[in-house]
Each structure stands twice: as structure tokens, then as C-alpha cells.
Symmetry: C2
DNA sequence: GTGAAAGCGCTAACAG
DNA sequence: CTGTTAGCGCTTTCAC
């Protein structure tokens, strides 16, 4: 009775006018709060009549359960973090805007479909426990391109929160799962495509950073060159610098051993290379074949349209979220904790030397059908 | 003592190995939990020594405060909802992808800068109190283009949660604040621009829906025609249907009173109109001047580049979030609860009749730099 | 200056 | 089948 009494007092005193609580519903429906909880959550074994009645009363009072209380009690928030590497305070890397936008859209969609919502979080933590990261209760987190020994990931894992990464983690970062493209296969296939179109010396525009995407792609290029008996011809630049790309493209085409085909690893490289080609009076695709890795629709409309390698960020986003939610809910079952996703070469005029039809759609591998 | 005893038991029993709680820190530091809380939050009047000591111990134990508990206690979650109108389960309308992506990026950035995080939520609620919307504790919400009597907004407002909308609300939707472009001024300015370039009869590609953007823009067009003494020439189509735009564009150029300039209200209209012009053998800009409203970089690269009206979604996103957080924190002060934002006409070849240089890059306002 | 106690609103044991 | 009770982990009066 004492405890009950205290509750009563608490209610009477703390009664907020704005929102009805579970107790108000219980009182109005003439049942206990447990019954209300069970009726609304579809738990317990209540007669349908009670359930209906409670629901009706709750509805009438405009009752909304407190998400905070439920989260505290159950330990589940229904929230998934999405971190995006940040340059200069802005989420999303500018040069890869289209990739992130599409990936995030798909991820959000997939999360929502399973009853979770995505929270956009910055790529870094202030060490202080009082930044955004520790102010939100996360059931799990998606990390895009985690760096070697990423402090955010490390901390998350230490807290026992599942982390799934887009892009295979560098080093021994202990993520729960990861999803990535088969960058070697993608680059190899694309170089074969260029060779088939008549390229004799293929150049590469690559980055100076050590992330896995850059590393694996470059390695694949070098390996391909070795196999093909071609001397590698490449320029590397800091990919996060928007101007450096143009300079590097120029340098690449100014070389004495000028390539007759180029693959650019980063989104703006298509534009960069096109501009450089123009400066040197090189016609695309006649004098120079061009491909770049990009999700941007821009390259369908350039003159000429440029062949792009799509990493299919939408699929990656969806998969990453599925894996994460499986881990959260323990639905994972088996242990295929890493997933390799196909890429898509969208062949356009810039990489077809002979009588290039201006095709918009790409040759697709059979695996592609229906997957999106 | 009984209560304390109970706590002890609770601890001893419920002690989870993964995470240290505030009690663990208190015990380890030899102080009370109040002191820990105060020390960590910078509240109370503790000697610096105590404060430092507690922080150190907390750090050593890897203590992280529980966001859920704090939210429950304080009633503030630091979370801001972002709703995006949805067609077919996908967040973001495809035809306005670039707008939403940029708006969301800016909004997220602005929120993070003030210590809040953005949660992406669907445009609709299941009436049931157990969907994503009621599973997350929101301090406020940003709504993009709320429809007349939007149920989500209505419910949110009923709960006393601040709502700021991007786009002025239709009807008497009681949002806390809104931000919008001056659509009349934008359309008028753009039509003047076309007239100055030599247009004699300007057509409009518009939508059939009743949202304010469509309505205001169309009205501005009609008014301009009246003032200019020109008969309106327009086609309306359901803007959410990706194919209907192409058909409407075709219809517009097939009319006996064919316009010599066209403004398309929606993002894909530039492409639609360009294709239609080609079918009828009309050269752009010589026979037909073209402008469309879009945030997409595609139109800088088309042949010819197309003049676009940018609504500056980035600025809108930033402003919306500022207003919302002001409302949440009661920092608002005055009552300028609605804000009109400028638009930006990016003039390219398609709207310049005389001696149009085939520039690849567009004249850009200084603010544009770095936009990808 | 510091600590004890009272809950925030809910769910899950467990007792009837 | 339904109700009572004990907290989830934190912040916050209010005593000391």
C-alpha cells in the first residue's frame, strides 16, 4: 500500500496535462497498467473484448507510449546509426555525393521496412562522453568506409553495439560484418573492356590515400598490367581535394608515354579527364578511351557520354542494413558475415572506339537480374 | 535503508558485465552517484579535484551514460525527425532526388553542429501507435512539403512537438514555422529572363497536383502572361509519374500554338523537353528556349547545357533546422516564424538566343563553389 | 560540498 | 486471465 500510495501521489502531483500516460489509460479503462501494456502490445492472453476496449480507450485519450521509457526498459531503441566520413564538418564527401545519397536512401528504406529508423551521425567523436554519439541510444550502426583503427567503431564495438561496415575494414577492425564490392574483379573487367575496344596502353588516375578501395583497385590495375605485359601509367593525387583531380588528369595526359585509354577511380575524374583531353586536342573516344567510377547521372549527358563503373550503392545500403538488423535481432543464423556485391559497368560512347552506338544501358551479368 | 537495500540487491543481481553504470563509477570513485552526475555534467559546485577524479575514474571504467535513461528523465532526446514524402515505400521522390539529398545533407549538418541528430522517417504513419514514429522520442520534426491536413503533422502538433516545414503548409496546418522560396518572384524573374532573350510565347510544363509549389508557380505564370499580354500555353501532368512528363512535353510542343520558350516546373522536364524538341526538329536555343527547375548537375552537361532554377535546398535545410532548434530550446525569441528564401537562376546556353557560346561550365554565383 | 531518495513511463516476473 | 511489484539508469530536489 505504501508503494501504491507513493505512486498515487506521484501521479496526482506530476500529472502533466499534455499527454496521457499508461496509468491514465488504465484508470479510464478500469484495468491495470499491465493489461493496458499487454493489450496494446499484443502480448499476454487477454480476451479480445478487453483488448479492444483498452485500445479504444487509449485511442480516445490519444495515448502514445513513451519511446524513451520503452527504450530504457527493453534496451532496444529501434535506432540505427549511419556514419558518413566527413571533410570539413559536412557529412558526405563532396566528390562522392551521389554514392552516399543513394546508399543512404536505400539504407533508410530498408531500415524503415523492418521497423527501424536511421540516425545520421558524424564521422568523428569528441572524446567527451557528451557529444551526439553518446546522446543517442543505438541498436547498431552502419559505418561507411571506416578508416584503420577507426575510433568510433572501436568504441562502439567495446560497448557491444553491432557494427556493419560498407567497405571492408582496414586492419583488424572488429566489425560485426561488412559488405563490399569485388573491386579487383570490377577493375579487371573494365580494363578488359578497354583492351577489347582497342586500348594499347591504359592509364590510371588513382588516389594517394590508403583506404581499401583505392588500394585494391590500384593493385588490381598493376596486376592486370603485369598480366597484359603493359607498363603501368598512372598518377596519384589526394582524392579529397577537388582541384587536385584536374591537375592529375592533366599530368597524366601530358606524359611522354601518354595512355590511349584512362580509368579514373573517383567520381569527378570523368569531367577532369574530358577537360584535359580537350586541352590536348584529343578526341574521345577516337584518340582516348575513358571510363570512370561514378554514380552520377552527369556522365550520361556529357559530350560524349562517359562509360562509368557503378558500385551499386543502393544494393550495398540495403544489404548492410539487412545484415545489421539480423545481427541486432540475432536472426543472423549462419556466419556469412561478409558479402561481396557485384558492380555494373555502364558502357557509353567514351569507351567504344568502333562505330559507337550511343547505348544508354549496359551489358549486365546474369546475376544482376531482379536483384535491385 | 530498505530502498537502498533493494538497490544493492538489484545491482548485485542485475550487474551486466558489458557496461559500467553510474553506480559503478560512484563506487569506484568513492562518492555518491549525484556527485558523479554533477561532475560529469559540469553541474553543481564541486571542488575541481573531485570533478577531475570522478572524470578520471569514469574514463578508466569506460563509462557511457545511458542515452535512454537521460532522455526519460530529462524529456529531451536530442533527436530531430526528418520526413520525406514517399512514393512506393521509397523515401525521397525520385524525380526530386537531388533536391532532397542536398536538403537532407545540409539539415543534418546544421543539426549536428548544434548537438542534435537527424532521424529519417517515412512520410506516413500507420494509425497504430506502434510504428516507427512512436518508437522514437523526438524533440522536433522537419517536414518536407506537408500535404493539406497532413496526419503526421497533425498528430505531432497534438503531442506538442515543434514542427517546421520546408514549403509553406497548405490550408491551416498548424506548423510552428515554415521556410519556403518566393516562388512567384522566381517564376516572374525567369519569365522576364526568357522574354529578354527574345521569347514571344512562353509555355509552361506544370503539375496536376495541388501542392503549394505547383499552385503558386502556375499562378505566377498565369499572372505574368496576363501582364505581358500573352495567352497562356501550358500542359499539366501528374508530376510523380516519371513517364507522364515526357508525354506532356511532347504534347506541349505539338500544339498548333507552339511556344518558342518553355519553363518546366519539375526536375526531369529539362530532359523531357530536350527530347521532345529533338523529335520536332527544334534547335535549342535557336528555335526553342528552355529552362527548368532542378538541382541536378546533369543540366550543366547536356547538349546544350540547360538553364535551371535552383531552389537552393541546402540553405533551406539549414534554415529549417535552425528555426526548429530555436523553437525546441525556446531560443526563438521573436516571432518571425516564416522565412522566405531566395532562388538562383543558373543561366546556361538553353536560354540565351544570341550567339550562345557552347560553354561547358555555367556562370555560377560565388556561393555555388564546391557544390558537386 | 555531498548524499539519500524519489521517480521519469514503461515492461516483465510472478503471484493470485 | 489479471494485478502487484520491482526496477531499467539517470537527474534532481532537498536534507544534511
Amino acid at each position: 500500500m505504501t508503494a501504491a500510495g507513493k505512486h498515487q501521489v506521484g501521479r496526482a502531483h506530476g500529472r502533466r496535462l499534455g499527454r496521457a500516460g499508461i496509468r491514465d489509460v488504465a484508470a479510464a479503462a478500469g484495468v491495470s497498467i499491465t493489461t493496458v501494456s499487454d493489450a496494446l502490445n499484443g502480448k499476454g492472453r487477454l480476451p479480445d473484448a478487453t483488448r479492444r476496449h483498452v485500445r479504444e480507450v487509449a485511442d480516445r485519450l490519444g495515448y502514445r507510449p513513451s519511446a524513451a521509457a520503452r527504450t530504457l526498459r527493453t534496451g532496444k531503441s529501434g535506432l540505427i546509426g549511419l556514419t558518413v566520413t566527413t571533410y570539413g564538418e559536412e557529412p558526405f564527401t563532396f566528390t562522392e555525393f551521389a554514392y552516399f545519397a543513394e546508399m543512404a536512401r536505400a539504407a533508410s528504406s530498408a531500415a524503415l521496412a523492418r521497423g527501424y529508423a536511421l540516425v545520421i551521425l558524424p564521422g568523428s567523436t569528441r572524446q567527451s562522453p557528451y557529444d551526439v554519439w553518446s546522446n543517442v541510444a543505438l541498436d547498431g550502426t552502419v559505418v561507411i568506409d571506416p578508416s584503420d583503427r577507426d575510433p568510433v567503431v572501436t568504441e562502439l564495438v567495446r560497448q557491444g553495439i553491432p557494427v556493419v561496415s560498407d567497405g571492408r575494414p582496414c586492419g583488424d577492425l572488429p566489425v560485426t560484418a561488412w559488405v563490399d564490392n569485388d573491386h579487383e574483379a570490377a577493375v579487371t573487367g573494365l580494363l578488359d573492356h578497354l583492351a577489347a575496344a582497342g586500348a594499347r596502353r591504359i592509364g590510371l588516375l588513382t588516389g594517394t590515400s590508403t583506404d581499401t578501395y583505392t588500394r585494391l583497385s590500384t593493385k588490381a590495375y598493376l596486376r592486370w598490367c603485369e598480366r597484359a605485359g603493359q607498363d603501368p601509367v598512372y598518377e596519384a593525387y589526394p582524392a579529397h581535394d577537388p582541384c587536385a583531380g584536374a591537375v592529375a588528369a592533366d599530368r597524366l595526359l601530358a606524359r611522354p608515354d601518354r595512355p590511349d585509354a584512362v580509368y579514373g577511380l573517383f567520381d569527378p575524374n570523368g569531367t577532369d579527364l574530358l577537360a584535359a583531353a580537350r586541352r590536348y586536342g584529343l578526341r574521345v573516344p577516337d584518340d582516348l578511351l575513358l571510363v570512370c567510377c561514378s554514380e552520377s547521372a552527369v556522365y550520361a549527358g556529357t559530350e560524349p557520354p562517359i562509360t562509368t563503373l557503378s558500385l551499386k550503392p543502393g544494393r550495398i545500403g540495403t544489404t548492410v542494413v539487412q545484415l545489421l538488423i539480423d545481427a541486432i535481432e540475432g536472426t543472423g543464423g549462419g556466419r556469412p558475415v561478409q558479402r561481396i556485391m557485384p558492380t555494373d559497368l555502364i558502357v557509353r560512347t567514351s569507351s567504344q572506339r568502333r562505330r559507337a552506338r550511343t547505348t544508354v544501358s549496359a551489358p549486365r551479368s546474369p546475376e544482376d537480374r531482379g536483384r535491385s
